[in-house]
Symmetry: C2
Subunit: 90 residues, 2 copies
DNA sequence: TAAGATTTGTGCGTATGTATT
DNA sequence: TAATACATACGCACAAATCTT
């Protein structure tokens, strides 16, 4: 199913994209240590600018859902037992 | 003296700008809870794009040197005793 | 009350450098 | 050599909140 951005609501596009990826992670659609869609992929999939896709990825990193390997890609992080720095939410 | 960016070295411009502000903070030139130069000011002062100025500010935030109040400005954070989340460096 | 300036937040487009495959 | 992907940097624009006049 193709996602769509809501430009009217209060939630910024990059957060909407991040939320979608979070759902994919928590549902298991995106497994641990597997790459999430690239910036280009997100750009095409959502019809947004690269910066927006970048913000989404950065947001996920800030939330601790993923980790980025420079010049390689961004991967799903294991939030279950690895380390204890997992910030749950609010 | 007017600062200048070194575009040749390995240190990206936004980090050079951030480092300069860190020096101002640690020297006391920028006091706690006082605003650091705005993004526009940094843009003019260093002759860089706003994106670069924003990165510098974000970097300072990531390092725990400042905090940003939306639509207000970015201020020097008290890293001495307030809270214990101060990440010293590496 | 209103207008204007200031500042941050967000978005889009593009280019270059570097590393990996 | 080429495609892919990330990091960084440049440009521009508008919105929202704040502050000043």
């Amino acid at each position: 199913m193709s996602p769509s951005i809501d430009y009217e609501g209060p939630t910024p596009p990059y957060q909407q994209i991040a939320a979608e990826i979070v759902r994919d992670i928590e549902s298991g659609a995106l497994a641990v240590d597997r790459p999430i869609p690239s910036e280009s992929a997100l750009t095409r999939k959502w019809g947004v600018a690269r910066d927006t896709a970048r913000r989404a990825v950065r947001h996920l990193r800030d939330l601790g859902y993923v980790y980025t390997v420079p010049q390689r890609g961004t991967y799903v992080r294991d939030r279950s037992t690895e380390g204890g720095e997992g910030q749950d939410d609010a």
